[in-house]
């Protein structure tokens, strides 16, 4: 369809539409300053007008813009003109960018406008020359999306990697070595204890080897595989010992991630099974609410509620059970907080795979005489396995990336995500922060892509398009009782924690003076409210490009075939998988000086939000587009509508619900985000979550609880509105995992 369209336009054109952007590029170049002296965007500083810059190079931008203008108005053959426009636009863009990068001048409005216009010129060129088999809109969109991904995802991450190995301008591995060798990173053998940790770890390796050998014997493996099994088992054993006895950020993060992922996955499985097979309807209905919690709660809020409940003077530990202990600070507390935060994500993922189970299969198995255990082992379990693995790996990634909980509950241990922050914000060692960031990034990416590769290959789908008949047998009574008690415990805990935040926002001084007061809300109104409004504004402004850009990328990836399509897919996945602290360091390193100076402005916060939340919109868009027959769009194109018109008149109205869903989720996620933006706030650009974290740390707990309550309630309202709009019972469908 695209080819037909391109051919039909090629014959008609006497001049190219590229003259408009080419003219804009020229005017912007002449009328506005090309660079700027400092952070202020809208300066008209005459010293940065092109003729004051004293450089011939920068005039190439104008020269190529004029060339493009002339070419677009000449009656040339369409393909030839297309090639000419591509070259003129591309070279103009290149000369502008190379001048900025070469001189390190921050871009000015003139540069911004003329370079954007030149991208559009290049888009026209690529389309008319037939190099991109579509119209100028699609071609320009592809260029813009690729440039955005390069500038705001790949470039900052590249800077992180570069900072790790370039110290003071020269290449060295010293920083990598000294960081990885420091006791903050790994502290395996501890000279201050009487036992030898390495020996203990080796003991675990021996146990692993013995277990591996026993298993291999029972399977009667040949020698080679026998040895391999033993080796792997020994390594796993040593690794477990390393996590338990090792200190430093690496083993601690690994240990917490393992605990959290295991417990969260199991709990998620419990919820998913209950949702499908319980006898109690109200349990099924209330499960929907579980999927809501992580989206509406800033990630560290539960951490400080945990101190109220389980600290040395905690209501549960001290007043109920008379335990006076600080055990909550450390691995126990962080794990608990993360389990509460990430179990819903695991639940959403597992529910997806539980939903794909077919009752007919289980009935068939039972008809063939299988008992419940055989049925579970041979039918249900293999079908569940990929979903469980998926949930496990996702929670591992979330746990690695989590920043707020370790910061509040970390106790005497370091964690990879917090070390990135303290290396940068406290020790001010950007190189060290970059090393930590690179380690964290590579661990997460390995898991992320291994998971995609693995699950992408194994297809366990039992649904063939037709809804299966029949319903699942209920759970066995004992089993159901067990699962229900897990569910009850979880619900009790979560309700208690949320209630304690709400209650804490109304008392004078938590635990000391429990008289009710509205003082915290008055404080919040004077100090927190302007910040809250500012945050809402930035979140709202960034949600629009996040949703539309995500939608556009979905459209390009699903409906268009072009060179670099997998690059666009990869880039947007990368921004999804990268831990927030790493992206935060990346942004501050990449955008603090030089041509892309953006720090200390709302713009950089908004950009961070856009690229962080865009992937959710992409997935919504991809899922939506898959349900729409391309022949609709073909009909529109056949009637000579351009693809921008088709997108606007056909696809947007049809996909308005996922689009609004993406919009609202981008907004809510921006309101509750912390790990990336904590690096980017500046005077006058303070965000609600960062302020809230500061209050928690400064001991303004009542006020923090008030802000937390208001955040949670307002986000809940927004999400409920969305659910009303889409008539979905829970938010997870558009949200996190599924």
């Amino acid at each position: 369809m695209a080819t037909a369209h391109a051919v039909s336009t090629r014959r008609d054109l006497r001049f190219s539409g590229a003259w408009i952007p080419a003219l804009i590029a020229g005017i912007a170049f002449l009328a506005l300053p090309f660079g700027r002296p400092d952070r202020a965007f809208f300066t008209l500083d005459p010293a940065f007008r092109p003729w004051a810059l004293g450089s011939l190079w920068v005039w190439l931008v104008l020269a190529f813009a004029l060339l493009a203008l002339i070419a677009s108005l000449l009656p040339l053959r369409v393909t030839a003109r297309g090639e000419l426009l591509t070259v003129a636009g591309g070279l103009g863009l290149l000369s502008g960018v190379s001048w900025l990068m070469g001189t390190g001048t921050p871009f000015g409005m003139g540069a911004l406008l003329s370079l954007i216009a030149l991208v559009v010129v290049t888009g026209y060129g690529l389309s008319e020359s037939g190099r991109i088999q579509s119209d100028a809109f699609v071609a320009s969109s592809i260029l813009f999306v690729s440039l955005f991904i390069i500038l705001f995802i790949l470039f900052p991450l590249f800077i992180v990697l570069r900072t790790a190995v370039f110290v003071d301008g020269s290449f060295t591995l010293n920083k990598v070595w000294s960081t990885l060798n420091s006791p903050l990173f790994i502290f395996a053998e501890n000279p201050y204890t009487e036992q030898s940790e390495l020996a203990l770890m080796s003991r675990f390796a021996v146990i692993g080897t013995v277990l591996g050998a026993l298993w291999a014997l029972s399977r009667r493996l040949k020698f080679a595989r026998f040895a391999l099994t033993c080796g792997v088992a020994a390594a796993v054993g040593f690794f477990i010992g390393f996590m338990i006895y090792g200190r430093g950020a690496l083993p601690t993060s690994l240990l917490v991630a393992t605990i959290v992922a295991t417990v969260s996955t199991l709990t998620g499985l419990v919820f998913a099974l209950l949702g499908q097979r319980t006898r109690f309807g109200f349990v099924q209905r209330s499960l929907g609410a579980i999927s809501l919690l992580p989206i509406i709660t800033p990630p560290f809020i539960l951490a400080f509620a945990l101190i109220f409940m389980f600290g040395r003077r905690g209501i549960v530990t001290y007043q109920l059970f008379d335990i006076s202990s600080n055990a909550i600070f450390g691995i126990v507390g962080v794990s608990l907080a993360q389990i509460l935060a990430f179990t819903p994500i695991a639940y959403l993922v597992i529910r997806g795979s539980v939903a794909s189970l077919d009752p007919a299969l289980e009935e068939a198995s039972q008809t063939l005489g299988a008992d419940r255990w055989t049925l579970f082992r041979t039918v249900t379990w293999p079908l569940l396995r990929p979903g469980l693995a998926n949930a496990f790996l996702l929670t591992v990634i979330e746990s690695f990336a989590d920043f707020g909980n370790p910061l509040i509950l970390g106790g005497d241990r370091g964690y990879l995500a917090t070390e990135v922050f303290s290396a940068f914000a406290a020790r001010f060692d950007p190189n060290e922060a970059a090393v930590y960031g690179s380690v964290l990034l590579s661990m997460v990416l390995v898991i992320f892509f291994a998971q995609r590769w693995w699950l992408g290959r194994s297809s366990f789908v039992t649904v063939t398009g037709k809804p299966s008949s029949g319903s699942f047998a209920h759970l066995p009574r004992v089993m159901e009782g067990l699962l229900l008690s897990v569910f009850a415990l979880w619900t009790l805990l979560v309700l208690m924690l949320y209630f304690s935040i709400l209650y804490g926002s109304f008392v004078q001084l938590w635990g000391i003076n429990n008289t009710l007061t509205l003082k915290n809300y008055r404080d919040f109104m004077t100090i927190g409210w302007p910040v809250f409004l500012y945050t809402a504004r930035v979140a709202a402004v960034s949600a629009i490009p996040a949703a539309f850009l995500g939608f556009l990328i979905a459209y390009l990836v699903v409906r268009q075939r072009f060179f670099g399509r997998s690059f666009v897919e990869f880039g947007s996945m990368l921004s999804f998988a990268t831990p927030g602290t790493v992206m935060g360091v990346a942004y501050i390193l990449a955008f603090n000086v030089g041509p892309w100076l953006l720090t200390a402005s709302s713009v950089i916060i908004a950009i961070a939000f856009v690229f962080r939340n865009m992937p959710v919109a992409i997935r919504g868009g991809v899922a939506g587009l898959a349900q729409i027959d391309p022949s609709l769009e073909e009909a529109s194109t056949t009637l000579r509508a351009s693809s921008s018109v088709t997108l606007r008149r056909i696809l947007v109205p049809l996909l308005i619900i996922p689009l609004i869903g993406g919009l609202i989720f981008a907004f809510v996620r921006a309101m509750t985000a912390i790990s990336q933006v904590i690096f980017l706030v500046s005077p006058g650009n303070m965000l609600a979550t960062v302020l809230l974290l500061g209050w928690v740390e400064q001991g303004q707990l009542g006020r923090a609880a008030a802000m937390g309550s208001i955040l949670i309630v307002s986000m809940l309202t927004v999400i409920l509105l969305l659910m009303l709009l889409t008539r979905r019972r829970d938010a997870g469908v558009v949200g996190v995992g599924a």
């Binding site: 952007p21 300066t43 201050y192 003077r313 006076s324 600080n326 001084l509 490009p545």
Partner: protein, 337 residues
């Protein structure tokens, strides 16, 4: 396409506004409550807008170092003196002699010379929750050497020197009293007793107040705040003597709003401005202007055994970075039994 461009611009326009206004960007390191009171009072007095970010003083130093090529802040207000001195030595801040220079306490001026402007002073001490200590039968600590006793295991809190200037002052104090080797032995023993290192120096007293720990090591004037808020804590001055800070105010070199910055510094040193700290800011340091009344709640510095704190040595970047790194690598990572 036009829509996309139009959108980019409308989004960009939303973010403009404050670029040309009169404004001071303040990096504020004292107690949050004080920081929050400064802006409105300054705006009322001068009509100049004030935006602040609150960071602990070591974090502030890190932030200023990171931004040295392109500062966003105009003035660094408060926080312990050593990082101010480091910033001055590294050329991140510059000295400015305010018109009220002659009114400032001469002891403070002589100690720091013409590097940064003294803003207030206060001494390190213990903020103790007697109830928690009584629970385990531990005595109220009176001296630094008491803190190494394993009876305080899990009952101590102090700030982290990586983020907190208070914590650096604590470590520097120990080094000056006991010598570096013994000080680090004591820090290692204290580490075995510490339940939590906080990011901010003012926040540890809260842990003691709430009963999460029994003893918080921090500035005594911060302890006064928790006493006044109704927490069951008392202030102890260590028997071997204790270190003190000369909190500072510094002009950032290359400040984006230099004129407004100077106006702010002049205002901040007036008795009226300094009195805000105790009246509305829950901060009970002794203020640097001799005409500012000393709050009645403030710890009486004349009755405390103060050491002869060597600001020049411990405010030098090399010494500071070395000591913090040594603590970070040799004390902090050691697991507690």
């Amino acid at each position: 396409m036009k829509r996309l461009i139009g959108f980019i611009f409308s989004a960009a326009l939303l973010f403009t506004g404050s670029a040309f206004a009169q404004q001071v960007n303040l990096l504020c390191s004292p107690d949050l409550a004080w920081c929050e009171q400064i802006g409105p009072a300054f705006e009322e007095a001068t009509g100049i807008d004030l935006e602040f970010v609150r960071l602990s003083s070591s974090e502030s130093l890190a932030r200023l170092r990171a931004e040295a090529a392109n500062p966003t802040f105009d003035v660094w207000f408060g926080g312990t003196g050593d990082p101010h001195l480091v910033a001055f030595t590294e050329g991140i801040t510059e000295f400015y002699k305010p018109t009220v220079w002659d009114d400032l306490l001469s002891g403070l001026k002589n100690a720091v010379g013409e590097t940064y402007i003294p803003l207030y002073t206060g001494a390190i001490g213990f903020v103790v929750n007697e109830g928690i200590l009584a629970e385990v039968g531990a005595p109220v600590p009176q001296c630094w050497e008491d803190l190494v006793d394993p009876v305080y295991k899990g009952l101590l809190a102090m700030p982290n020197p990586n983020t907190s200037g208070t914590s650096y002052t604590i470590i520097a104090t120990l080094i000056q009293i006991f010598g570096e080797e013994q000080a680090f032995e004591m820090l290692a023993a204290i580490h075995q007793n510490v339940a939590q290192y906080t990011r901010s120096g003012g926040a540890v007293g809260l842990l003691a107040g709430r009963g999460d720990v029994g003893v918080a090591i921090q500035f005594m004037h911060d302890g006064v705040k928790y006493v006044r808020q109704g927490f069951p804590v008392i202030n102890i001055a260590p028997c071997e003597g204790t270190g003190f800070e000369i909190g500072g105010i510094s002009l950032i070199k290359g400040a984006p709003h230099p004129d407004d910055a100077l106006a702010f510094i002049e205002w901040a040193l007036t008795p009226e401005a300094q009195a805000i700290a105790a009246q509305r800011g829950e901060s009970f340091q002794v203020q640097s202007n001799a005409n500012t009344p000393v709050p009645p709640e403030s710890p009486d510095l004349s009755s405390i055994n103060l050491i002869d704190y060597d600001f020049a040595t411990f405010g030098s970047p090399e010494v500071r970075d070395r000591i913090v790194a040594k603590w970070t690598n040799e004390v902090f990572p050691v697991p507690r039994r």
